[in-house]
């Protein structure tokens, strides 16, 4: 092989070698910005979860939530009285539910729902998207990036996500959640950007699902504040005592 041919081959090899990572790097960067714009890495917040039935009847749950780093999140139910004292803990792929009367925390799974309705445990105890998903593809539309996300492991609740990200604010407006079979499980809508400690973040997440026709669930945030607590707060032994550090 002569020298020009060698150079051409080298150039082609380098182009092919770096082409895909460059795309995925852009996607990963966008996803990390999305995560940063949705919530601080470590924070406390109050959240209201509302289940609305086709009849219009609704039920509300108020939760206090603490999150730390990439893999730790704990929530405590403050109301209604029938749920008060229940607490959930997530450490990476491990999830537990503590029910005061039952005693010890029991292991639960991401697809279950501790409150009923359209939101499941993975939605209520969501880790950052970039922790659980890789960007497979990006499509640039006029005002939005459309990201195709693929779960990094089989333990993640949804196998694939399709995320519409507003180009100006880098926050998602809509996320479709799919099972491995390609079935659309639910759609999340991010709304009502509100200033939390100087950063504008969506304060309302609505969801509906073709599996729950006519049902709607809403998650609304209040008092999102940066707070870093000790790692020991995110342990089974401390789960029953989260109320004392609220």
């Amino acid at each position: 092989m002569n020298e020009p041919s060698m150079r051409l081959l080298l150039a082609l090899t380098l182009t092919l070698l770096f082409a895909t990572p460059a795309l995925s790097l852009d996607g990963t960067e966008i996803l990390k910005k999305v995560d940063a714009n949705l919530q601080p890495e470590s924070f406390e917040s109050y959240r209201k979860l509302i289940n609305i039935e086709p009849s219009g009847a609704k039920r509300e749950f108020l939760l206090y939530t603490l999150k730390k780093g990439n893999d730790k999140i704990a929530s405590l139910f403050l109301s209604p009285a029938s749920e008060k004292g229940r607490a959930t803990l997530r450490l990476g792929d491990n999830m537990w539910l503590y029910i005061p009367n039952v005693g010890k925390p029991i292991r639960i799974t991401s697809l279950q729902s501790v409150v009923g309705g359209v939101f499941n445990n993975a939605d209520i105890m969501r880790l950052d998207y970039n922790v659980e998903y890789d960007v497979q593809n990006i499509v640039d539309e006029k005002n939005e990036h459309v990201l195709d996300l693929k779960a990094k492991t089989t333990t993640v609740a949804y196998d694939k996500l399709k995320m519409w990200v507003d180009k100006k604010t880098i926050v998602p407006t809509k996320v479709e959640c799919y099972a491995a079979t390609g079935l659309l499980i639910k759609t999340l809508y991010f709304k009502e950007r509100k200033s939390f400690e100087g950063v504008l973040r969506p304060s309302v997440i609505e969801t509906d699902s073709p599996l729950y026709k006519g049902y709607q669930s809403i998650l609304a945030y209040a008092n999102v504040k940066k707070r870093i607590v000790a790692d020991e707060v995110f342990t089974l032994e401390f789960l029953a005592k989260i109320e004392t550090i609220r």
Binding site: Y46, K48, I50, N51, I52, E53, P54, S55, G56, A57, K58, R59, E60, L62, L78, S79, P80, A81, S82, K84, L91, G92, D93, N94, P100, N101, V102, G103, K104, I106, R107, S110, L111, Q112, G116, G117, T155, E192, K194, S203, V204, Y212, Q216, I218, A220, A222, N223, A230, D231, E232, F234, T235, L236, E237, F238, K241, E243, T244, I245, R246
Partner: protein
């Protein structure tokens, strides 16, 4: 029948109230949340250092008595009780908490008022009342009456060395605690070992403190080491003291898949003293080491059906022969009572039924099977469940169908039945009841 009329009345009332429930205006349009209202609610709750609440409960129960069983004979031989009777339980559970800086306190009380053919009865208990000091989340000191909650089993906990035993037919009910002083030291790590927590407990046993725990006037010690390693919960327990014999325990729980969990418990109890009778009523006793264990699994399907299966080997339980001897003794005593009027044997049988013979599951081997379906037919807050506890040694079992439903916020209804199946001289065949039907209405409140 009073119970059936009441059940029908309650059923109609609740259905009507549900149909007309006004949890919100019946606006079927898109719901919009008022964020300023949410902020006000959060501000109010975030600044409140105390809480007070609980529930009030009404539970009518219909019991179908097995007039030929050993346990009904020792209980009802004096009464001309029919084959059914109803019972009305009223319960008030109060609990509250207070926190200030590193200090906090918690209490839970239980008041049960019961009415049945024997008349009215009232019992109030302090379930829990303890104070807590947390200089940091790693170090917690607590003292008072509390439930320790050791073990991973759902229906039984052989390694729960301090708490009172659960009722396997209703394992999610709150228990009365024990008076203890505990210290918890918790550490978190990066890597395969994520958490290590050491609990040390002191359990005094005096005339007015933990009097039913064991031998009086001793101070006992217990400890538990918890590890979360390789995504597996592990506990190692030990109990030692003069009130009860020394015992060692171990438990684990792990998700093999996101929807498949396995758990187990193991306990060795030194020098267990057991007292029993032979068929003639002669008292005997034995002392030996007992090994108890439990293995269980929980499986969740895509349609949110949960299956729970547990096998329990109770090394302190009674063998088939010992139970048969007890049943034979009661049979003989009953025949003697009918022919001579001498109730001595049945009175003794009644006393024995308050001990190991009368435990919900007195024998050595049991299977527990539970299947529940969350929100079938898209009906939110409805869960039908079917449970069965099986004695595989004598083939007797019970079946417990139940439906729980919450038609309104804070209102929970549970309709539960129990059918007991077994031949003569078997575990479930000789229980007091043939069947039971109960309705539980529970209303939660917060003050």
């Amino acid at each position: 029948m009073r119970f059936v009329r009441l059940l029908v009345f309650l059923g109609i009332s609740l259905t009507a109230s549900n149909l007309h429930s006004q949890e919100q205006p019946q606006d079927k349009g898109k719901f919009e949340i008022d964020l300023s209202e949410l902020q006000k609610e959060v501000d109010k709750i975030a600044s409140k250092p105390y809480s007070l609440g609980g529930f009030a409960e009404f539970q009518p129960t219909l019991l179908g008595i097995d007039r030929d069983s050993a346990f009904s004979r020792v209980k009802f031989f004096k009464n001309k009780q029919g084959s059914t009777f109803d019972q009305y339980n009223f319960r008030l559970r109060l609990e509250g908490s207070y926190k200030k800086d590193i200090f906090s306190a918690f209490f839970k009380t239980d008041t049960l008022v019961r009415n049945d053919f024997e008349g009215w009865d009232e019992d109030t208990k302090l379930f829990e009342a303890y104070a807590s000091v947390k200089p940091s989340p790693s170090f917690i000191v607590e003292a008072g009456k509390k439930v320790m909650k050791w073990g991973k089993g759902y229906a039984w906990n052989p390694a729960s060395f301090i708490d009172r035993p659960k009722n396997p037919e209703d394992p999610e009910e709150a228990l009365e605690g024990s008076t203890v002083a505990t210290v918890d030291y918790i550490r978190s790590f990066d890597g395969p070992l994520k958490t290590a927590a050491l609990t040390a407990a002191v359990i005094p046993v005096q005339r007015h403190v933990n009097a039913k725990f064991g031998e009086l006037y001793h101070t006992n010690f217990a400890s538990k080491l918890y590890l979360l390693a390789y995504d597996t919960d592990l506990d190692f327990m030990v109990f030692t003291g003069e009130s009860r014999t020394t015992r060692y325990g171990f438990d684990f729980s792990k998700n093999l898949a996101t929807n498949f969990e396995v758990h187990g418990e193991f306990a060795i109890i030194n020098n267990v003293k057991s007292k029993f009778i032979d068929a003639s009523g002669r008292g005997l006793s034995k002392e030996a080491e007992a090994v108890s264990y439990l293995i269980g699994l929980r499986y969740l399907t895509e349609k949110e059906t949960t299956y729970l299966l547990e096998y329990y080997r109770d090394g302190t339980g009674l063998s088939r022969e010992r139970m048969r001897d007890f049943f034979s003794f009661v049979d003989t005593s009953y025949r003697n009572f009918l022919t001579t009027g001498n109730a001595g044997g049945l009175v003794r049988g009644a006393q024995l039924s308050k001990g190991p013979y009368g435990k919900p599951n007195p024998m050595r081997d049991y299977l527990y099977f539970r299947v529940s379906q969350k929100e079938p037919f898209d009906i939110l807050y409805l869960t039908p469940t079917l449970t069965s506890i099986i004695n595989p040694i004598d083939g007797s079992f019970n079946v417990l169908p139940e439906i729980t439903y919450s038609p309104l916020t804070n209102l929970e209804l549970r309709l539960k039945g129990a059918i007991l199946v077994g031949r003569s001289h078997t575990d479930f065949g000789e229980k007091q009841n043939d069947y039971r039907l109960e309705l539980r209405l529970r209303y939660y409140f917060a003050l």
